[in-house]
Subunit: 285 residues, 2 copies
């Protein structure tokens, strides 16, 4: 008997199988093509194992309210062929076992809480900054969600005084994701993020927006720790700038733990999501 | 046997006593002076009753984490004499009965959920817009709080394109409270809020900021319903403008219930807080 996990992304799916101690037995990457083709490969991977339960962390937006008809579905997504796809139903039809269904960022937050940078806490917020920006939240050791899966990367932000970039979000133009995700860095500077020199002024602008978002999350959700992950966070200097900006913008108004302990880098780089999904599978079996 | 409740405000305290069916037996208003003087009057009111439990909704910021030394205290407040005052301890010393301690806005949210505009729901967000802006949240029928009492009135906001007002918050200048609480209306227009004509452009600016905050709360907390209260919300036309702006700014990105049902006016005008405090007293006795 073993646990299965799927980290479903817009570019690739990661599928893994682990033993009862959560030691990973096998892991594969499947390119995200059509739902039919992708699921054919998913089934062909999992069919070799006697699964006890599966945990899924999926790209979104997704239906997370069990009282609604769209529960388990991928909702409106620019990813061709996936809008209104019954992800959970398709899986449950093939495997008659317990399945945990949540967002990719919630799964990552759960992974970071139990085995990553938020170990020992009962709550955490995980924010990924990459091609897009998304957040997941655990409160009292449980996935936190309201009536819809939160899309906290799309909050509006106060403008940096030196920033005149119009923003890149197709829905909101200059929301957080529109102003601070990876593509905005490149659009402002004309250089890819990973090639931008450390002293490029674009980093100050990005730190300003990320820090502001962390302040908003602190004032609304008040988690014990904030864990930052995703491609952009591979830049060491950025974390320092974000912590400085957070302190400046909060202006001492609400007490948080020391910023070095409150805002931290992921403890399971590129693995939070799949490990979190395995841990979630374990909770229901 | 009866229930006691205190709604503690910076200007006045409301104290009430209700019977086992929560019918209010007596209610008094006490001006907020020094802690010593104010509590002398509180004791003199409650001493006449055989109380089973007390619910408190207090102005803040307050210590709400039972694991911290400042639990039950008023924290840094501009209100003279109240910073670091042990509110809960002072009350518990006099009355050896169960006490529920939370923020004024959490108590109001609880009142609105059980007996006001959010009846029948299991979650709601209550936002008061008056001299200041504050929010309280109930999730799964329980007060929602992280490690600190959230101060969601102080989130930063994207500027309205026609607004050049610098903002009035002593900590953050142009945060939501600094740009959209009552005093900011008056400062922009030179006329008191209640005397401003309906077609004054300042209302558009205010609706823009309040709606934006509601979008942020939706994207982070995702409650079933948002209840608006406080002095500024006595303006009928403002609620309409806020709903319109909310729809525009969200741009269809996240599904919410119909905006007429999702963003509503308080059901217990000026009473949500004291009724919520009584209901909270009932929960622990």
């Amino acid at each position: 008997m073993c646990y299965g996990a799927i980290e479903a992304g817009g570019t690739k799916f990661v599928c893994a199988v682990a033993d009862e101690n959560l030691k990973i037995i096998k892991k594969v990457q499947i390119p995200t093509t059509s739902p039919q083709e992708t699921f054919k490969q998913i089934f062909s991977f999992f069919n070799a194992y006697d699964l006890k339960a599966i945990g899924i962390g999926s790209f979104g937006p997704i239906g997370t309210n069990p009282n609604q008809d769209n529960y388990g579905y991928i909702l409106a997504t620019p990813k061709k062929g996936w809008t209104n796809f019954d992800f959970l139903g398709t899986l449950k039809k093939r495997y008659d076992i317990p399945v945990v269904w949540t967002t990719d960022v919630n799964a990552a937050a759960y992974g970071e809480l139990l085995m990553g940078a938020a170990q020992g806490k009962t709550s955490c917020l995980y924010l990924t900054v990459g091609t897009g920006i998304g957040g997941g939240v655990i409160m009292d050791g449980q996935i936190f969600q309201g009536i819809a899966s939160p899309e906290m990367g799309h909050i509006y932000v106060k403008r940096h005084p030196q920033d005149e970039y119009e923003g890149i979000c197709p829905y909101h133009h200059d929301c957080l994701e529109g102003l601070a995700a990876g593509p905005s860095l490149e659009a402002r500077a004309g250089i890819k993020g990973q090639d931008l020199p450390i002293d490029h002024p674009v980093w100050d602008i990005q730190a300003y927006y990320i820090a502001q978002a962390l302040m908003t999350y602190t004032l609304t959700l008040s988690p014990e720790v904030i864990v930052l992950g995703g491609g952009v966070m591979n830049q060491d200097h950025l974390l320092r700038k974000i912590r400085q900006e957070f302190t400046t913008q909060m202006a001492g108004y609400v007490e948080t733990p020391d910023v070095e302990e409150y805002i931290v880098r992921w403890g399971l780089p590129n693995k939070s999501g799949i490990i979190g999904s395995l841990l979630l599978a374990q909770t229901i079996s």
